[in-house]
């Protein structure tokens, strides 16, 4: 064979660079030139928005109380939650026995008993402790507190004894440090000390009142020169959650009361000599009070100083409620994603695609980039629209939507778009493997949507639901979690209430893992199979 001196035809089209960008361009042209697919993307986005808005419109929240005089219920919209210094919704209900402290100073006290009462389920209105049983809540609290003011939601720092979690130093609702563990008794009391120096409050604990250990300290910015400081007691509502076989849960709850006994109180620094004042800082006054006889103070209180959490006695819900339509939009988007490849198999067009680009892995990659980007944008626009509007509607309808940080909100919106995009790429990969649209769509629905609904709609027991949200691609819905799970707050941290077993991006990574495996298998079979 020799190089011919004769001539042969040569293409006159200008030689373009051989780039992956060309393939992406070609796949994008394919996607945008089938109107049904563009409509499918639009339907997906519309479902995310529409279902979210419908759910918000259908939610009407109100709080009812039985009037003790008439026995008739009186209903009103749920009041806006108290907002703490960090912008989060908080409970700030406790009984506060205080004196003004001006400038620096310290207070120390011995606590020798912490007991409590738990209301019975059939207590009469107005007499909540009728038939109550003795018992202290794990997070009943009593100790020393310094607070900006007695206004609920104001900044504070406190050293306290808890029902079951030993000594804790807490400040500004969300911060918690552990001290000496264990419960107290008359023979094993605890010593607590709280000192102010400028803006800094430091908490100490001790077993003997002589050897002190620092538990923690906090800077409370803008603390006024004169602040109320002193003793406090509080006890959160109890909750009994029953998980039913086959899913669903029901709960009972009611108020509780904590009673703490303090003595050996000592003070240094700028204290006045006025009498101790008892103040109920929001909540039910009927369960609170204090007595002082000689050097002994007995303080009773009910309520909680803690961030609010969803699902318990607190009335609010997480912002992810606005994204309830994600699963519906997901179904539309994965249909488009699967058809994006399976329609080529159905028509034999895959041969044209692979003849135009013999390096098959790149064709798959270009398709994934295009469908991923298109579904990401559809999801991003939809989520960015529905979150603020549905939140406004929910609040207008009387619901409490817990405030979230800007970062969390951006993470929820971007995460939702990313969830939709990665699920769509997964559908594309399955479509490549199975070559059938119906099969691929069914597989993705079974893998993502079904576990999500089973777990979140409390069809399954909580434990099973949580395992589904760890192991299946539905774990990715964790990117929508807006609520924070606080170890120092007793709550019903279930998927139904918006708490996922995995951290947001960790859950998302589970979906990414499944999609990566599916893409890899798709690339291998695409290479090996005759087209």
């Amino acid at each position: 064979m020799t190089a011919g001196t004769d001539t042969a035809y040569r293409s006159t089209t200008s030689a373009a660079r051989d780039g992956f960008a060309q393939l992406v361009h070609a796949e994008w042209t394919k996607l945008r030139t089938v109107r049904g697919w563009l409509i499918g993307l639009l339907v997906g986005a519309t479902l995310v928005v529409g279902v979210g808005l419908l759910a918000a419109a259908a939610t009407h929240a109100s709080a009812c109380t039985i009037q003790s005089a008439t026995g008739q219920p009186v209903c009103h919209g749920i009041p806006a939650p108290t907002i703490g210094p960090g912008g989060e919704a908080v409970n700030d209900g406790f009984y506060f026995v205080h004196q003004p402290l001006t400038g620096d100073g310290a207070i120390a006290v011995r606590i020798s008993s912490l007991t409590g009462l738990i209301s019975s389920g059939d207590a009469q209105p107005g007499q909540p402790m009728t038939g109550a049983t003795p018992g202290v809540q794990p997070w009943s609290k009593a100790g020393l507190i310094v607070k900006t003011s007695t206004t609920p939601g104001s900044a504070y720092a406190a050293i306290m004894l808890t029902g079951e979690h030993g000594v804790r130093f807490q400040y500004d609702y969300t911060h918690d440090t552990a001290g000496i563990p264990g419960a107290v008794s008359a023979t094993s009391p605890r010593w607590l000390r709280l000192a102010r120096s400028g803006d800094t409050i430091t908490g100490y604990d001790s077993l003997d009142g002589t050897h002190w250990t620092e538990v923690g300290s906090a800077r409370l910015i803008g603390l006024p020169a004169t602040v109320p400081a002193g003793l406090f007691a509080t006890s959160p509502d109890y909750q009994q959650i029953t998980n039913h076989l086959g899913g669903g849960e029901s709960g009972t709850g009611g108020p509780t009361q904590a009673t703490a006994r303090f003595d050996r109180l000592s003070r240094q620094g700028g204290w006045s000599d006025s009498a101790w004042t008892g103040t109920q800082v929001s909540g039910d006054q009927s369960l609170s009070g204090f007595t002082q006889s000689g050097g002994t103070w007995t303080v009773r209180g009910s309520g909680n100083i803690a961030p609010q959490v969803a699902g318990g006695s607190d009335p609010g819900q997480g912002l992810e409620r606005t994204l309830i339509g994600t699963f519906a939009g997901l179904i539309a988007l994965i249909v488009v994603a699967a058809l994006f490849v399976t329609s080529e198999y159905r028509r034999g067009l895959i041969r044209t695609s692979l003849a135009a680009s013999p390096r098959r892995g790149r064709v798959l990659a270009a398709k994934a980039v295009v469908i991923g980007a298109a579904t990401f944008i559809a999801g991003l626009v939809a989520a960015a629209i529905v979150v603020p509007i549905a939140r406004h509607m929910l609040r207008s309808n009387g619901s409490v939507v817990y405030p979230t940080s800007t970062y969390t909100e951006v993470r929820m919106i971007v995460g939702t778009a990313a969830l939709l995009a990665v699920a769509a790429v997964g559908a594309l990969a399955l479509g490549t493997i199975l070559r059938r649209g119906a099969g691929a769509v069914t597989a993705v629905i079974v893998a993502i949507v079904l576990p999500y609904i089973l777990a979140v709609a409390s069809v399954l027991p909580v434990g099973a639901g949580q395992w589904l949200l760890r192991l299946t691609p539905a774990a990715a819905f964790a990117v929508q979690q807006s609520l924070i799970q606080y170890p120092q707050v007793a709550g019903d941290y279930t998927p139904t209430n918006g708490y996922y077993p995995l951290a947001p991006w960790a859950g998302f990574a589970v979906l990414c893992g499944y999609t990566a495996v599916a893409l890899l298998v798709a690339a291998v079979v695409l290479r090996r199979r005759d087209a």
Partner: protein
């Protein structure tokens, strides 16, 4: 005729395109030259060497080997199931052969970076998304090769699709789909074209157009491989023939040779005095067959001798010509041997 050519190309005179083809090609295409490997002085563009492929227990390709020269339309013929489409898919790297190789200009298809600039192919005219317009179908294909919309509009014009290009391809007739497939094959202006049954679904006018078009492409020194299961479609189009059966090549020959062989020196005679002529010629030792009321096919004596004999005997005749077999007849002649071969082959295992 064509009139004066407007563009002077570097093409040698003997390879001038036909008038019809040239008119179309002058619209937007100029030609450049390059060197391709040659065999026996001819440009070879597709080279298929010993392809074997099984689908389960069925042998689809059984040592398929042939070459497709440039500057000709090569007919790729054989009955349905003979392996035409499978061979084409292997050439395009879509199916993997168990053995053997297929190259385009000496390179395997999979190594081509912008393959449509090397080979344009039409495998299945129905392979379209019905909701996409013909133009958009060409557009994504163009984008995949780094080409733009202007080139798309050129091939739409060349394939005569201008009026239908912006309609959804789901509404196309089979003939329009064939034109769209041809336009797609032309996108990269490739030196090699490979078309599977391009005449399917074309109306008579379309068949004439397609024949002219294919000849014009070959006249530009492109290699054109056209498969068909109907020989009549390739009449006056193909100058080379690769006939296959059961996954292997039966004949690889020029059409002129094949027809000459099938024509075999026979003479066609038109005469009103049929019986007289038959008598005279038979006496002279010729084999005479009546093929029509006033037409005779004469074998055994050449045309000059026929004229002399008839003139001597004063038998009137209106026309005498060398008999030219149709491609179909020639093909039948070819495959008759193959049928016998097959019969012998199938008898063998019984022994």
């Amino acid at each position: 005729m064509c009139g004066t050519p407007i563009i002077v190309t570097a093409r040698p005179a003997h390879r001038r395109p036909s008038c019809e083809g040239r008119r179309k090609w002058l619209l937007g295409v100029t030609t450049r030259r390059s060197r391709l490997p040659t065999v026996g002085g001819m440009d070879v563009s597709i080279e298929v060497n010993g392809l074997r492929k099984r689908f389960g227990s069925i042998v689809a390709l059984d040592g398929m080997s042939f070459t497709v020269p440039a500057g000709q339309v090569t007919g790729f013929v054989g009955p349905n199931g003979a392996g035409k489409s499978t061979t084409m898919r292997v050439i395009l790297g879509l199916d993997a052969a168990d053995e053997g190789s297929a190259t385009i200009g000496g390179r395997p298809y999979a190594s081509l970076r912008h393959p449509l600039r090397h080979v344009g192919s039409l495998l299945d005219a129905a392979a379209l998304h019905p909701a996409r317009t013909g133009r958009n179908h060409l557009l994504w294909l163009a984008h995949s090769q780094g080409l733009g919309a202007p080139r798309v509009d050129e091939v739409i014009e060349q394939a005569g699709l201008a009026t239908a290009a912006r309609r959804k391809s789901g509404g196309y007739s089979l003939g329009m789909r064939q034109r769209l497939g041809l336009a797609a094959a032309l996108l990269g202006d490739p030196p090699v074209l490979m078309l599977d049954e391009p005449f399917n679904g074309l109306d008579p006018e379309g068949i004439v157009w397609m024949r002219g078009f294919l000849r014009a492409l070959a006249d530009q020194d492109r290699a054109v491989l056209v498969s068909s299961h109907l020989m009549s479609e390739l009449q006056d189009t193909a100058t080379h023939l690769v006939a296959i059966g059961r996954g292997r090549v039966i004949a690889d020959t020029s059409v002129a040779d094949l027809i000459a062989k099938a024509s075999d020196g026979r003479v066609t005679l038109h005469t009103a005095a049929r019986s007289q002529a038959m008598t005279v010629l038979a006496h002279a030792g010729a084999t005479v067959a009546a093929s029509d009321r006033d037409t005779l096919t004469v074998a055994g004596v050449d045309a000059g001798r026929v004229v002399a004999l008839l003139s001597e005997a004063a038998v009137p005749f209106t026309e005498i010509s060398a008999h030219r077999a149709t491609l179909e007849e020639a093909y039948m002649e070819l495959t008759r041997d193959q049928v016998e071969f097959r019969a012998a082959a199938t008898a063998e295992p019984a022994r």
